[in-house]
């Protein structure tokens, strides 16, 4: 590492201890890994299109099918497994895009200040003033529902908080001696930003990012629930949306994917807490 101030590297020996000291985080990690396992093995466990009509409509859970079937005789368990990979993949992609955009804007804004900061922050505020979910609906409706449009919509509505967070951290570090030392050494701005400053503010970004995965899953599900999901891809939100008309006759159509969303979001939040404990020990002591 170069001339730098204290960092909380992920490889630090205390990281694991700190993370697992949080019981919730351990539980969260187990649940999350189980869901990842389900998503990865979906094509092996259910080697068919989850939209295919495999049985009679409205079979109850634990009868012919483990989790029953829906209105068109589609296997709910297959939908759940295939939906897991959709939800996770979409959320991960959207979060990465959002983190990238947010971090870039935050870095530029915080590092350069002045009119650059003014301009970028006004743009950010513009995005923040629009209610995020309504904005996402509008974006998907305009672009037509598809994986790409959903990822873009989620990223567009979730990057502003990241930008503001990164900008704040940037501002705090910008005036520190080691940065000024870098400037005196004649390092280029890009080097200073990405090699010197960014590693120092990585931990809050990681924590926020982890929580953002959960937000992204919720947004994706809500969009699919409203019929704005990619119609060719099975997702949990789609399952709930298609099943909500039958809440009184076939509870499992909504309850099972609903439970899946609950568990996933919960586990990600727990992991986020754990990461926070592990990466910001000072905060934990308070």
């Amino acid at each position: 590492m170069s001339a730098s101030a204290p960092t909380n590297s992920l490889s630090s020996p205390t990281f694991r201890n700190l993370f697992f000291r949080n019981k919730g985080a351990s539980v969260g990690l187990v649940i999350f890994l189980a869901i990842v396992f389900l998503a990865v093995t979906a094509p092996i466990l259910f080697p068919f299109d989850p939209f295919s009509n495999v049985g009679d409509p409205f079979e109850k859970p634990f009868s012919a099918f483990l989790l029953g079937t829906d209105q068109l005789g589609r296997d709910v368990a297959a939908g759940l497994a295939h939906g897991a990979s959709t939800s996770l993949l979409l959320a991960l992609l959207a979060t990465l895009v959002s983190l990238f955009v947010g971090t870039m804007i935050g870095c530029l804004s915080g590092y350069y200040g002045g009119w650059v900061d003014q301009l970028l922050m006004r743009i950010t505020e513009f995005f923040q003033t629009i209610p995020s979910f309504v904005f996402a609906i509008v974006l998907v409706a305009i672009m037509q529902p598809s994986i790409e449009s959903i990822v873009i919509a989620i990223a567009v509505v979730t990057w502003p908080p990241i930008a503001r967070l990164v900008r704040g951290e940037m501002l705090a570090i910008r005036r520190r001696e080691f940065v000024e030392a870098c400037i005196c050494l004649g390092m280029r701005d890009a080097q200073i930003i990405f090699r010197e400053i960014l590693p120092n503010i990585l931990s809050p970004i990681i924590v926020t990012g982890s929580l953002m995965v959960a937000t992204a899953i919720l947004i994706e599900s809500a969009l699919a629930f409203l019929g704005l999901g990619d119609p060719n891809i099975m997702s949990w939100g789609f399952m709930i949306g298609a099943g909500r008309s039958f809440l009184r006759d076939a509870w499992w159509l909504c309850a099972i994917p609903g439970l899946a969303i609950l568990l996933t979001v919960l586990s990600i939040n727990l992991i986020g807490e754990g990461l926070n404990d592990a990466l910001n020990p000072r905060l934990r002591k308070m």
């Binding site: 299109d49 939209f51 295919s52 009509n53 409509p57 209105q71 068109l72 005789g73 409706a141 037509q144 529902p145 019929g227 119609p231 060719n232 298609a242 008309s245 039958f246 009184r248 006759d249």
Partner: protein, 547 residues
């Protein structure tokens, strides 16, 4: 008055009625028997208030310039038409006591009922009917031009006779005189005014069984009994309150609780209707849509590959299990369709099921064979081709329909990618740009094939930019000829023969894969009977509704 108060009032009336029934004088018995002697006062009191739900909320009550179903459902109680129609689509008298069609089919004579008055007290004459048809409906009603374009002149030889002279026979015209399609307006209020912005547009004055009383926008429309209605003893109920509830499950719940008494035409989701039908307090009917006879279908773009080949179209038509769709997507509120003309035209003889049928046991094998012959063999991985399937953006059942079709095609080796768009984009794609391969769609056959079917298959109806026309761009000289002949053929037998041949050709060529004849559920409280008594159903005048 808020909707809530309104509901309490309804509840009070219900209480009173049940009191009457409990005390042994069942108002309902007299009402249903059509008897009036024992104190028409107590009978009138127990008439009751019918609470009706329409969906979506109406922007106007001017049914003379709108074909919107909710508008029709509200305004048809106020405006009567010259005729009403039985479920088998045969006409029966309303404002016209009788009608006759000359042998050559070029003169229609209506005898207008005497002693009918508008709600403002002025008498109805043949001149009102002539004015409404010629100067309002034929000019500004969206379907008016199509309905009445063949009228060359309309004469009023005496105050209660209307004679329509046609330039050529038009057997379909007699189907266009319901109060929903062709409301009769008071000439003395409308003549010489700006009809489109008339003060009575949203405060209608007609001759119908109910008078318009009040419209609180966003809350309710109140219609009260017309005491001077021409049919003695009708209407039998005191009041109709029409309101809108945007959320479908709330609508179902309100019906279930008895706070609203009647709703249909898409206002009640199919699966809810199936559930509500099992409740003792409610009744669900499939009747009252004969005038619309909607068909759910797949429209092929017959001018682009691969659907320019009829074998591919036939294969897809074979792949669809119509019974499964009727039962599981429409929950029994649909029946398999066999061709372009709804089986509701069985009674009039225009429909035939003696056509090429796609609901055969070995349908899938036939489909596979046809695709092989058409030059789309299964490649490695079992796939023959990839297509895009557009889905009508008209609700959940269409999404399920699209998903089901995509799955059936997948088993044939056709990978169908579903595309959902908003209504405007989909309409433009389908009817302006013709930029689609195959799209789900549903279209009304209406009261006669001339009105609902010709527009979908005639080559003159390939009009880019005009919606609900010939999107498949199907055209053949023979089918054009058959439609032209049937349009002006006064002899019902010959006319039926033309349509039978038409159906045989089209089912062979399948420019459209007809899937289901949609039968909308109408949910009615058992407290009120006989509301749905004609082929326009909820857009009828409810004069025979009885509590």
């Amino acid at each position: 008055m808020s909707t809530k108060e309104n509901r309490t009032e309804t509840a009070r009336l219900d209480e009173r009625r049940s009191f009457l029934i409990k005390t042994g004088i069942a108002g309902g018995v007299y009402a249903s028997a059509g008897l009036l002697p024992l104190g028409s006062v107590s009978y009138a009191k127990s008439g009751g208030t019918l609470s009706m739900l329409i969906q979506p909320e109406v922007p106007t009550l001017a049914s003379y310039m709108s074909t919107s179903m909710p508008v029709g459902q509200a305004a048809s109680k106020v405006y009567d038409g010259l005729l009403e129609y039985n479920f088998d689509l045969s006409p029966r008298p309303c404002l016209a006591e009788s009608y006759s069609i000359s042998k050559d089919g070029k003169t229609i004579t209506f005898k207008i009922r005497k002693g009918v008055t508008f709600h403002d007290g002025k008498p109805l004459t043949a001149e009102d009917a002539r004015y409404s048809i010629m100067e309002v409906l034929a000019q500004i009603h969206p379907r008016g031009k199509g309905n009445f374009s063949l009228i060359s002149s309309a004469e009023v030889p005496d105050s209660h006779t209307l004679v329509l002279k046609l330039s050529s026979p038009s057997p379909s015209m007699i189907m266009a005189f319901s109060g929903y399609e062709s409301p009769i307006l008071p000439k003395h209020l409308f003549a010489g005014t700006d009809i489109k912005n008339h003060p009575n547009a949203n405060a209608p004055i007609g001759t119908g069984p109910f008078k318009f009383t009040e419209w609180k926008r966003g809350q309710f429309i109140r219609l009260d009994k017309n005491e001077n209605y021409w049919s003695a003893g009708e209407p039998k109920i005191d009041r109709i309150v029409i309101s809108t509830i945007p959320d479908s499950s709330t609508r179902s719940a309100v019906l279930e609780k008895g706070e609203a008494h009647i709703a249909g035409f898409g206002a009640v989701p199919y699966n809810d209707a199936a559930r509500l039908a099992k409740l003792p307090s409610l009744e669900v009917t499939r009747q009252g849509y004969e005038m619309f006879s909607p068909i759910g279908e797949l429209d092929f773009n017959t001018r682009v590959k691969p659907f320019d080949d009829k074998r591919v179209r036939q294969a897809i038509s074979y792949a669809i299990d119509r019974k499964f769709i009727a039962e599981n997507v429409w929950f029994g509120f649909a029946r398999p369709a066999t061709g372009p003309i709804s089986s509701n035209f069985k009674a009039s003889g225009l429909y035939t099921d003696q056509v090429k049928r796609y609901d055969v046991p070995d349908a899938m094998q036939r489909a596979e064979k046809l695709l092989d012959q058409a030059g789309y063999p299964k490649k490695a991985g079992g796939q023959r081709m990839e297509i895009t399937l557009d889905v009508t953006p008209y609700g959940e059942e269409w999404q399920r329909f699209g998903e089901y079709v995509a799955q059936r095609l997948a088993t044939l080796g056709i990978k169908a990618t579903i595309r959902y768009e908003d209504v405007a984009t989909w309409l433009k794609r389908t009817y302006t740009d013709f930029d689609f391969q195959v799209t789900a769609n549903w279209l009304n056959t209406f009261a006669d094939p001339v009105l609902g079917v010709h527009r979908l298959y005639h080559s003159e109806e390939i009009i880019p930019g005009t919606v609900f026309k010939n999107a498949a761009r199907w055209s053949s000289p023979r089918t054009d000829q058959l439609m032209n002949l049937a349009k002006v053929e006064p002899d019902p037998k010959k006319r039926a023969a033309y349509y039978h041949e038409f159906q045989k050709i089209l089912t062979e060529e399948v420019p459209v894969a007809w899937c289901v004849e949609i039968l909308f559920p109408t949910v009615t409280s058992r407290k009120f009977k006989k509301s749905i008594d004609s082929a326009v159903g909820l857009a009828g005048n409810f004069r025979s509704t009885v509590s």
